[in-house]
């Protein structure tokens, strides 16, 4: 509460416009966390956002910072070019799982390995949202999508990829955490992780990476409430929450790692 009356205020960096996300979609929550962190770290003036492909592509309509749109999966390469060209800016990408873990796997891993001083916000909803619910690299085994109608089969399509673990293993990564936004407690922890993911490159430590487990009620064919419950019931057991790397040496586990 800012003035004793308001229960809810808009971060200055968030445009006061309705978003295009479906009801119950947690892209909205993830995007708001990014906006709050940009505000709190006073980064709006020097931030450059790299928009990606997927339902998140319109992030640039909602965040009042300089933005450029990247081809599918290439946001980490575009971010590299931006940050190298203008080292004085705070550069971040906002990407979905199809974008980051499928077509953009190489760009993501090499960007992290080079230790680019950029932040990657990775929204994992285990499905290709924008194109109508096809299988993603993070789709759960057994999960039905339009391109694995019988459910993802590990023998045929492999196991869901755990990106945060991979990114944490790379030398240039300064901070890597996985969070969820299914409960108030998790949202609070997520906010701290997003903040740290921005701070790591700003403090010249390396790449900051945060994976946010989020819902896609539309393509999961669930109500928003059911979709939210699925995060705790199915996703978190396979994609464990927590800080996987923090070069700042801060013991952030108590903040981001939440016992289930």
């Amino acid at each position: 509460m800012k003035n004793g009356k308001e229960a809810f205020t808009l971060p200055g960096v968030l445009a006061d416009v309705p978003t295009h996300y479906c009801p119950g979609c947690q892209h909205g929550v993830a995007q708001r966390l990014v906006a709050e962190c940009l505000d709190e770290l006073a980064l709006a003036e020097k931030a450059i956002c790299i928009g990606s492909i997927g339902c998140s592509v319109f992030i640039y309509n909602y965040l009042l910072v300089d933005c450029v749109e990247a081809p599918h999966g290439r946001a980490p390469a575009v971010a590299t070019g931006v940050k190298r060209a203008r080292p004085d800016t705070a550069v971040f990408t906002y990407q979905g799982d199809g974008d980051l873990a499928s077509i953009g796997m190489a760009e993501t891993m090499h960007c992290a390995n080079r230790g680019e001083r950029v932040t990657i916000i990775f929204v994992n909803n285990t499905v290709y949202g924008m194109t109508g619910g096809q299988m993603a690299p993070t789709t759960m085994v057994g999960q039905r999508t339009t391109t694995c109608p019988g459910g993802r089969c590990a023998d045929n399509e492999g196991q869901p990829i755990k990106m945060t673990e991979i990114i944490a293993s790379l030398g240039g990564t300064a901070y890597a955490a996985r969070v969820a936004v299914d409960s108030v407690k998790h949202v609070r922890a997520a906010k701290k992780a997003v903040r740290r993911a921005f701070e790591a490159p700003l403090n010249n430590l390396g790449l900051g990476f945060v994976e946010i487990l989020a819902t896609c009620p539309t393509n999961w064919k669930m109500t928003p409430v059911q979709a939210n419950e699925r995060i705790a019931a199915e996703l978190i057991p396979y994609f464990p929450l927590g800080t996987f790397k923090d070069m700042a040496g801060v013991d952030s586990n108590e903040e981001t790692e939440v016992a289930e």
């Binding site: 709006a44 003036e45 020097k46 931030a47 450059i48 790299i50 928009g51 592509v57 640039y60 965040l63 009042l64 910072v65 300089d66 933005c67 450029v68 749109e69 990247a70 081809p71 290439r74 390469a77 575009v78 971010a79 590299t80 070019g81 931006v82 940050k83 190298r84 060209a85 203008r86 004085d88 800016t89 705070a90 190489a106 760009e107 090499h110 080079r114």
Partner: protein, 357 residues
């Protein structure tokens, strides 16, 4: 950085690097492929010493997208590759076309299709000139015929990229890239395009309104409007068309050839002139915009044409389009895999002149 008037004996690939450095290129993003490896190798040595950026990307795809990012910042930036690598860069080139970003891409092309060979070829003409990436876009294509021109045109490439906010491709081949010639350096200059705020580029918004650079246009009619505006921009590039005419005025037959083939054909023509053959050369230097108006003018004055290329016939289509109201063009294609000599072009020229050997 070169001192004005400095005279050096260098390879085409090095001339391109020195030209880019002199023109104020701040960022270079590359990936190895023959026959352009001298370019990333040179840049990796020189750029960091000047406090500038060199990144060896994980792929051509990444290098071209790094270029996109630097270009969005309004910084003079460049990438280089050869044919298969340029195919990978086309995704980003199309995006830069759609987003109207100034960027310089060097193609030291080799033989194809596919892995082809690493020798000289002009098989990438269509890809360079017609837009090898998706969608309705165009890019400036500059084709140097000498090592000096390679130096000069890379400077021009940066100026054009920023003047039109558009990708510019320098199209060379293994002959231009690997050949050594004396070059006068120092004429390429950095302009204000590396200044912090050009009115459209990303700098971090500071106190101004945020800027958005994108190629997605979903609302009704938005893309049509954008494409029409691009069409007008591409048409306006005509005023920067470049070509060389050599002994065309009294010529009966004009050979049309570009790049290193144009340069070799010039030697042939010089030799044939000595034996009284009325042959001239028209060498397009910008392949887009194509010197159609000039070719039309030459055709209107009754000339005949022979197009010579180091491929199966690509530019000849543009020549025919340009001269169609008055004339047609014969074609001679020298196949990739070996280096043509001036003598190789004598028989085709005699045949086009109707002379029996």
């Amino acid at each position: 950085m070169s001192t004005p008037g400095e005279r050096v004996l260098i390879k085409g690939n090095e001339a391109i690097c020195r030209g880019a450095v002199d023109a104020g290129c701040q960022c270079f993003f590359g990936y190895p492929i023959t026959p352009q490896n001298d370019i990333p190798e040179y840049m990796s040595k020189v750029m960091p010493n000047l406090g500038r950026v060199f990144v060896q990307a994980e792929s051509e795809v990444a290098a071209a997208n790094m270029l996109l990012g630097a270009a969005a910042c309004g910084i003079r930036a460049m990438t280089s590759s050869s044919s298969p690598g340029i195919s990978l860069k086309q995704e980003a080139i199309s995006y830069m076309g759609g987003t109207e970003l100034p960027a310089v891409i060097v193609n030291i092309s080799r033989g194809g299709p596919g892995l082809g060979d690493i020798g000289p070829s002009q098989g990438d003409y269509y890809q360079a000139v017609k837009g090898g990436g998706h969608g309705d876009y165009r890019q400036f294509v500059l084709a140097p015929g000498t090592v000096q021109e390679a130096y000069d045109l890379i400077g021009k490439a940066f100026d054009l990229a920023f003047a039109y906010r558009n990708p510019v491709m320098l199209l060379g081949d293994a002959i231009i890239g690997q050949m050594m010639e004396p070059v006068t350096l120092g004429s390429n200059k950095e302009t204000e395009s590396n200044s912090p705020d050009l009115g459209w580029n990303l700098t971090g918004k500071g106190q101004r309104d945020p800027r958005l650079l994108k190629s997605l246009h979903l609302t009704d009619g938005a893309l049509a409007g954008h494409n029409l505006r691009l069409r007008d921009k591409y048409a306006s590039m005509e005023k920067d068309v470049l070509f060389e005419n050599f002994l065309v005025d009294d010529a009966e037959l004009i050979v049309v050839a570009f790049g290193s083939i144009g340069r070799i054909a010039k030697s042939t023509i010089r030799k044939m002139r000595a034996s009284g053959k009325k042959v001239g050369l028209h060498r397009p230097i910008t392949l887009f915009p194509f010197p159609s108006r000039e070719l039309d003018r030459l055709a209107a004055s009754g000339k005949r044409f022979l197009t010579i290329e180091h491929n199966l016939g690509q530019m000849v289509e543009d020549v025919r389009l340009a001269i169609r109201k008055h004339a047609d063009s014969d074609f001679y294609g020298h196949l990739p895999g070996n280096l043509p000599t001036p003598e190789d072009f004598e028989q085709p020229i005699l045949a086009a002149l109707g002379v029996r050997s």
